[in-house]
Symmetry: C2
Subunit: 94 residues, 2 copies
DNA sequence: AAGCTATTTAGATGTTTTTCTAAATACAAT
DNA sequence: ATTGTATTTAGAAAAACATCTAAATAGCTT
């Protein structure tokens, strides 16, 4: 579990926006790219980083590669932050 | 509210470790530095970034500057992540 | 198999980040 | 007022990052 990688991945605004796009459902690399003023190559670079951080995963279909959110890692980040805040369990009952 | 700044600040391992140290209570810049193999100047640089991100605040006392965690911003980060995960409210009752 | 579309990889480039050393500031204590 | 301790600021250098263009790969579709 490469914790550091996840935070690094989340530190870029473009990548966060990609995650937000994917929140609504899977998108192809091209679809994602169409939301930015950036070459496909650059989008591909960001996708690779998100993938390495386990924040997204891909599924190939026909000629396309569809990307979707992987929320399980987000859970871990939340836990880390909870512990920092709460000093303890992370299950903060509120 | 500089959201991006907060994520940037959290993206460095040294800075995250500083936050973890501060979880146990306030520490002076020197105390913090003693946990790392790094010059005081570099620690000071990281503290500045954490401060700008509103993740810590300082209070001067005698000849020292004590730093402590500011958890309020962490709340916002948690909310962003919740929304990404949950698709909605962020108040996930669980 | 040839050509088309979608995406990635390679290599180059400018920018940002992290780190250092040296110097500056701030305050305390003698 | 001088010296000493704690910390920051300035400037430089190396490493990491985000971006581009051009070329490569992968998989349709004819």
């Amino acid at each position: 579990m490469a914790f550091a990688e996840t935070f690094k991945a989340l530190s870029d605004p473009v990548r966060r926006q990609i995650l937000e796009l994917l929140k609504k459902g899977p998108l192809s690399a091209g679809d994602i790219g169409s939301h930015f003023e950036m070459t496909g190559a650059t989008i591909s670079y960001h996708l690779k980083i998100l993938k390495q951080a386990d924040l997204i995963f891909e599924s190939r279909e026909k000629n396309f590669i569809y990307y979707q959110l992987n929320t399980s890692v987000l859970e871990e980040i939340m836990l880390w932050i909870s512990q920092l805040k709460g000093g303890e369990s992370g299950a903060e009952s509120k």
